[in-house]
């Protein structure tokens, strides 16, 4: 198995606050890793470090074999982070949103069609403006954008938030499909019971450390 995330004793600081205090973590390609822990435990910070957004102060780390200390910009182009917002343009239709993300990386029309079909935002939904979608439909559109961006690692922060029971089940199924297609998923959730059924492995984050 290929290791896609490798952190060793990583310390990260937000302002003066130590967000991560010596985290070591290894994630293999094709895993669905659940980061669980209470609010403020450091789950989001860990995701942002893996996305190359937060610099590491101490320790070593690599994402997809790229050094976190020296080449965070390259990491950003190969991973996808979906936080509490979806990063959509509300005045664009679903299709226009996905086309836009596809054009930033030069993805083909076939890739766009496949992503929309995989996330079930094709057909009638494709012509609806993102501002008129339900929370679940927006989430699916954002995930389709991650697919056309060819993100190899999906970092999802509370992906089930705002979804009803049917939407959550649907999201779980879509994530399993994405992993089957070659993606690796790391998701943070404080609803551990819910997400544990989806994950292939669980790591507890608390006080800026992981175990």
């Amino acid at each position: 198995m290929e290791t896609v995330i490798e952190l060793k004793g990583v310390v990260a600081v937000l302002g003066t606050f130590p967000a991560l205090a010596g985290v070591s973590l290894s994630v293999q390609r094709g895993e669905i890793l659940l980061l669980q822990g209470p609010n403020g435990a450091g789950k989001t910070s860990l995701l942002r470090v893996c996305a190359g957004l937060v610099p590491i102060e101490r320790g070593t780390g690599s994402i997809l074999g790229i050094d976190l200390a020296t080449n965070r910009q390259d990491i950003r182009t190969r991973v996808g982070l979906l936080g509490h917002t979806n990063g959509l343009y509300l005045d664009l239709t679903v299709e226009q949103n996905i086309q836009f993300w596809a054009s930033t990386v030069g993805a083909s029309q076939e890739e766009v069609a496949n992503a929309m079909s995989t996330m079930r935002v094709d057909g009638r939904l494709a012509k609806v403006k993102a501002g008129q979608l339900s929370a679940g439909q927006r989430r699916r559109t954002a995930l389709a954008s991650l697919i056309v961006r060819r993100a190899e690692i999906w970092l999802l922060d509370e992906p089930h938030a705002g979804l009803d029971a049917a939407g959550r089940d649907e999201l779980d199924a879509l994530l399993r499909n994405a992993v089957a297609a070659g993606a690796t998923v790391v998701l943070a959730s404080h609803e551990s019971e819910r997400a544990a059924g989806l994950a292939t492995r669980t790591v507890t984050v608390d006080g800026g450390g992981a175990s």
């Binding site: 950003r76 005045d91 054009s103």
Partner: protein, 231 residues
């Protein structure tokens, strides 16, 4: 693929996206353009003298442009922050200079359309007349000033986008910086309109000033946009 090709592709995608958003929402056509026209009409009511209006028409056109531009810039960054899209672009490692170029180009197109409307309004409402050479100079003035305004507007729009109280912060930051454009564009337009007996030839040095301003802010914007948005 070369960095230049990649940057051009992203810049085009961003510009097309911004113009599609305008096409879908029609904010420029339905709200900003009427707002700009109302400003021109209010100026006419306030001054209420054909001679004075013809004399000051160039300044009024550019003041109305600046006020309307503030609305357009607020709008262009509001769509980026409504669902965290600008943050998503940054997180995705999209080249910030390409985002800057793309957003500037889209803003140029919108501003140029707005300026044409304002010049047309000045001709109709204020009775401004232009020679053929004056008309050509007016077009060059609009184009050059538009590039400068769009670049500086995108830069400061991005800076204010993440700040608290951005609606009031943007005019405070932007208006002093664009004072040279207001002066240069007004003088060049006076020459184009022949206001106060000005000759067409008197406008070209001012257009040169506008070009220098545009180049400076295009370069500064492309370099500084990334760090500013990252902050």
């Amino acid at each position: 693929m070369s960095t230049f090709t990649q940057r051009r592709r992203v810049a085009l995608a961003v510009a097309r996206k911004d113009l599609t958003i305008e096409w879908n929402s029609r904010i420029l056509v339905n709200q900003v353009a009427p707002f700009a026209a109302i400003i021109m009409v209010l100026f006419a009511f306030a001054l209420d003298n054909d001679g004075i209006l013809q004399r000051v028409a160039p300044g009024l056109v550019w003041l109305a442009t600046l006020f309307s531009m503030l609305v357009v810039i607020q709008r262009t960054f509001a769509v980026e922050s409504a669902d965290g899209a600008l943050d998503a672009l940054r997180v995705a490692g999209v080249d910030p200079s390409a985002i800057f170029i793309g957003k500037s180009v889209a803003l140029m197109v919108q501003l140029f359309a707005l300026e044409l409307l304002l010049v047309g309004t000045a001709v109709v409402l204020y009775g401004v007349e232009m020679s053929l050479l004056g008309f050509a100079e007016a077009i060059v003035t609009l184009l050059t000033a538009t590039v400068g305004l769009a670049c500086v507007g995108t830069l400061y729009g991005g800076l204010a986008a993440g700040a608290r109280g951005r609606e009031t912060l943007l005019p405070l930051l932007l208006l002093p910086v664009v004072a040279p454009v207001l002066i240069g564009a007004t003088r060049a337009t006076e020459a184009a309109f022949g206001s106060g007996g000005a000759q067409v030839s008197e406008g070209w040095p001012w257009i040169l000033l506008l070009a220098v301003f545009a180049v400076i802010f295009a370069v500064v914007g492309a370099v500084a946009f990334g760090p500013l948005v990252d902050e």
